[in-house]
């Protein structure tokens, strides 16, 4: 049920878009929904980030995966894994965001006969995650050829590199293959591994199915049942110039694709997909570990009235002398 529910949800989205296009609701699915989805995505994203940003982080709580900066000069600091400067934090964040460094350290735990507990390296999640995210980014940027009147050379170069094997016509994009393969792996991982299956929720399967649906509908349009692609670009350019048009005869697969993308945009700020913004705001990653050099004072500390020993002695000096207690000042 945890798997079937999100699967049915994605199938329902496809059916809704298909039925809508059959009922001539192209303007609704081609104009209203995309505009609403983009607005929800941008506003929702900003709201989520604003909430994270306004939560106080008074102390340094970085994960310290290496030697901290020491006052002893012969102890070598691990500048990236335990950064004490902004530059170190930048390097750590860049490696985290671009190559998922912490996922690279992913381990697996196995119980063998004996009983013997075994820990081992587990790189496939890292590899599939990296393949998935990078091909998704390339595919997204590649789509800019539908968003721009004169396609920039950068996009064209990217496209020709992506299709450099020149398989079939239209040319096969490598990222299409990699993306579908990686998403399938990420899905199978949740189904095949019992521990992962146990902790997986519908919110884990839904984005996978949704992204797979988007990828498959896009692949269907490009390689199999063709859509009127010039019409598609007219529609998109109309949306971007705020003078929307619905060209005739585009084909329902395009509207299904667009509706699934809109669903992804709406779902994005409400879900775990917000890790796109959240990764930059992880307090355990984005802080320099400089607690020994800089005193971090909790900003909402209550002003405590302190009675120092000097004040105490001033107050009770005479009584202390009478009782024969030693005093610092006569």
């Amino acid at each position: 049920m945890k798997i079937l529910l999100p699967l049915f949800a994605v199938v329902a989205l496809v059916v809704i878009a298909f039925v809508g296009v059959q009922a001539n609701l192209q303007a609704f699915f081609g104009i209203v929904i995309p505009y609403a989805a983009v607005a929800i995505f941008i506003i929702g994203f900003i709201v989520r980030v604003f909430r994270w940003g306004s939560s106080p982080v008074p102390f340094r709580i970085p994960t310290t995966a290496g030697q901290m900066k020491s006052f002893a000069p012969w102890i070598k600091q691990n500048k990236i894994d335990n950064p004490s400067s902004r530059l170190g934090v930048f390097a750590r964040m860049a490696l985290e965001v671009l190559v998922f460094r912490s996922l690279f350290r992913n381990t697996k735990t196995e119980l063998h006969d004996g009983p013997k507990l075994v820990y081992g390296s587990e790189k496939f999640l890292w590899l599939a995650g990296l393949a998935f995210h990078w091909s998704f980014l390339i595919i997204f940027v590649r789509h800019f050829r539908f968003f721009m009147q004169d396609v920039p050379t950068v996009i064209q170069i990217m496209e020709s590199l992506d299709s450099f094997l020149q398989i079939g016509a239209p040319l096969l994009y490598l990222t299409d293959v990699v993306l579908v393969g990686a998403v399938t792996f990420l899905f199978l991982r949740r189904v095949v591994m019992p521990q992962i299956k146990f902790i997986s929720l519908p919110a884990d399967y839904f984005p996978l199915f949704l992204i797979l649906g988007i990828a498959l509908s896009g692949i269907l349009m490009r390689y199999f049942t063709k859509v009127h692609i010039v019409g598609v670009k007219e529609l998109v350019m109309g949306l971007l110039s705020f003078s929307p048009v619905i060209p005739a005869g585009i084909g329902s697969v395009f509207y299904i694709h667009l509706f699934l993308v809109s669903a992804l945009l709406i779902y994005f700020p409400l879900s775990k997909l917000m890790h796109m913004g959240g990764v930059f705001l992880s307090p355990t990653r984005n802080m320099a570990n400089n607690s020994r050099e800089v005193r971090h004072i909790n900003p909402w500390n209550y002003p405590v009235h302190v009675h120092t020993y000097q004040e105490y002695e001033d107050e009770f000096r005479e009584k202390m002398k009478k009782a024969g207690l030693p005093v610092e000042k006569e």
Binding site: I42, F45, I46, V49, F50, R51, W52, G53, S54, S55, P56, V57, P58, F144, R145, F146, F147, M148, Q149, D150, V151, P152, I155, Q156, E159, S160, Q166, G168, A169, P170, K226, V227, H228, I229, V230, G231, K233, E234, M237, G238, L240, S241, S243, P247, G249, G277, L281, P283, M287, P299
Partner: protein, 137 residues
């Protein structure tokens, strides 16, 4: 580290810079779909003889599938030496990009390039074939 304001500004600037790129890139450029020309001498001649302008297959099919068809023609000619294409109406054509396709569509700039440039497509036809001399009526 309460800096929601700064973070939101960074996010907004990022959104505007990256996602807004198509918006400001397109400013001042006409949103015009390509208009193809079907008025070469060979097409007009065909229209005179057959009463209508038509391709080897219906327009909708050609629009979506011409690249696959060209690939099939290439394979058929180069690998099987079979140069006869029988279309969906049972009519025979010579499979030749240069002598059949480009005979009618002898206006690459006003035909092929229009959509290909509009969508940023760079077909590798012209890596081997020579584009014919532009003929327009």
């Amino acid at each position: 580290m309460k800096n929601a304001g700064t973070i939101v500004i960074v996010v907004v600037v990022g959104f505007v810079a990256f996602f807004g790129f198509p918006f400001y890139y397109n400013i001042g450029k006409a949103n015009e779909a390509p208009k193809l020309k079907f008025d070469t001498p060979a097409i007009l001649e065909w229209e005179k003889v057959n009463g209508k302008k038509e391709c080897v297959e219906p327009k909708e099919f050609m629009r979506g599938e011409h690249m696959q068809m060209l690939n099939q023609w290439r394979d058929s000619v180069v690998r099987n030496a079979d140069r006869v294409y029988v279309n969906s109406q049972g009519r025979s054509f010579t499979m030749s990009f240069q002598n059949t396709c480009m005979n009618c569509h002898s206006n690459k700039k006003d035909f092929c390039d229009k959509c290909h440039n509009y969508l940023g497509v760079k077909p590798y036809c012209w890596g081997c074939h020579i584009a014919p001399k532009e003929k327009q009526s």
